[in-house]
């Protein structure tokens, strides 16, 4: 991995996509770790099958070349091989399906009560985040919009088309509930390193529960074609230590809502 980085002379300051990236981004949540592990498990079978099929193919081409062996054996029926080539693939697909379903259902499951709820509301073309756990009235006290930083305003080291003006600050190592919805057209709230991609549908609240295991800045993008600026609707999640979260939210986010 380090060699690859030297090779392509890239830096990866944060959990964002890299140039020439082939695999997934590093996992930040147990769900993403599960997805990566499942991918690797399935790839094991995939490569076995690939090698086997290629071997059969090449062997057939080689041995039944029209100059070598123009008339192959005329076998039309073979019970043994037909049983084998029915049962064996179904066993393989079962071995793939079992862990896949286990992961799929564990992703939906809310195991423990979440500690905070954050609402991500998609707009054309920005995200609005509401932190309403601390409200004492129906008035929203902690709501802010998250716009992409345009290319000319970027500072050195910031990622083009990914950086936003107001990041979602969440506590690390804490169970989060994220309620995703939209105010206009369907969007999709996706952060690859947390293994989350959740449709934002107007009139509907979709819940995802995540547990960010390490502090960091995680980048994602709107993942449902939503109009002209669909490509310019990024998502940035900043996971901070839990003890810093309270002060971050109360000190930093409230002034920002004032100016917005």
């Amino acid at each position: 991995m380090i060699v690859l980085k030297w090779l392509f002379l890239t830096i990866s300051p944060c959990d964002a996509a890299e140039p020439w990236q082939l695999g997934s981004q590093d996992a930040a949540t147990p769900i993403m770790q599960g997805i990566i592990d499942l991918h690797h498990d399935i790839f094991f079978f995939l490569i076995l099958i690939l090698v086997f099929v290629l071997w059969i193919l090449v062997r057939a081409l080689w041995h039944f070349h029209y100059k070598e062996n123009a008339i192959p054996q005329r076998i039309v029926h073979g019970t043994t091989i037909e049983i084998l080539r029915t049962i064996f693939p179904s066993l393989i697909s079962m071995f793939i399906a079992i862990p896949s379903f286990a992961l799929l259902y564990s992703m939906d499951e809310v195991v423990v009560d979440p500690a905070i709820t954050i609402k991500a509301i998609g707009h054309q073309w920005y995200w609005t985040y509401e932190y309403s756990d601390y409200n004492s009235s129906d008035e929203q006290s902690l709501t802010f919009d998250s716009y992409m930083i345009p290319e000319e305003d970027l500072e050195l080291g910031q990622s083009r088309l990914l950086e936003v003006d107001n990041r979602v600050v969440v506590p690390a190592k804490t169970h989060l509930r994220i309620i995703v919805t939209s105010a206009d057209v369907p969007h999709s709230w996706a952060v690859p390193s947390s293994g989350v991609k959740c449709d934002a549908v107007p009139g509907r609240l979709n819940q995802i529960s995540i547990l960010v295991q390490r502090e960091g800045v995680y980048y994602g993008q709107c993942s449902e074609i939503c109009g002209t600026n669909h490509a310019f609707t990024p998502i940035v999640v900043e996971a901070v230590p839990r003890k810093d979260y309270g002060s971050r939210v109360s000190n930093q986010l409230i002034p920002q809502t004032g100016e917005a």
Binding site: D108, V110, V111, V112, D113, P114, A115, I116, T117, K119, I121, E130, S132, D133, Y134, N135, D138, Q140, T143, P171, K173, T174, R177, I179, T181, A183, C198, G203, R204, L205, N206, Q207, I208, R242, K243, Y245, G246, S247, V249, S250
Partner: protein, 181 residues
């Protein structure tokens, strides 16, 4: 993480009991068995807390001082106390592990609407709507400023987008709210 899971796992079923109780309150007389059950549960939780020696004395204090507000309240008060406790337990336990500075928990307490077994799926639209209705039914039954309704207000504010709440408030004022109030 393990101890927080352990301390929370019984809370969900208690949660479920509470919701039923509240609904019965609004419609008919509350069941007589419920207070005993919740009272014992409350005791259990208190003993748990005492043995943990965490900075939860404040929580215990809160619970004991929460007074029965209205005539119906005696049935409700222990239940509400359990609820408070349950919500605070994970935060209190984990914060004591990480040795937080005293001031931060005062500023922001990490608690939100708990997971609800009536709404186990990804789609939480009805969860938000139900909490909103529950709050307004509770207020209708017990009067404004009833302390046991506050938790429902917290829940629906946590779950519902502000825009939706504004719209529903407007609809209630105009008498066009579509839900059963």
């Amino acid at each position: 993480m393990a101890e927080s899971v352990a301390s929370q796992s019984p809370s969900l079923s208690e949660q479920y009991h509470l919701e039923k109780e509240v609904k019965q309150d609004t419609s008919a007389k509350p069941v007589e068995v419920a207070p005993e059950v919740t009272a014992t549960q409350a005791e259990e939780v208190t003993t748990d807390k005492a043995s943990e020696e965490s900075p939860a004395e404040e929580a215990v204090g809160e619970k004991s001082e929460s007074p029965p507000a209205s005539e119906e309240a005696p049935k409700e008060a222990p239940a509400a106390a359990v609820e408070d406790n349950v919500d605070e337990t994970p935060a209190a336990v984990e914060e004591s592990n990480e040795e937080v500075v005293e001031e931060t928990p005062d500023e922001i307490k990490l608690e939100t609407a708990p997971a609800d077994f009536r709404f186990p799926t990804t789609n939480q639209t009805r969860h938000c709507f139900t909490r909103y209705i529950e709050y307004h039914r509770c207020v209708a039954a017990k009067g404004d400023e009833a302390p046991e309704c506050d938790k429902f207000a917290k829940f629906y504010r946590s779950l519902c987008p502000g825009e939706w709440v504004d719209k529903w408030n407007e609809q209630r004022e105009n008498g066009t709210f579509p839900g059963p109030l």
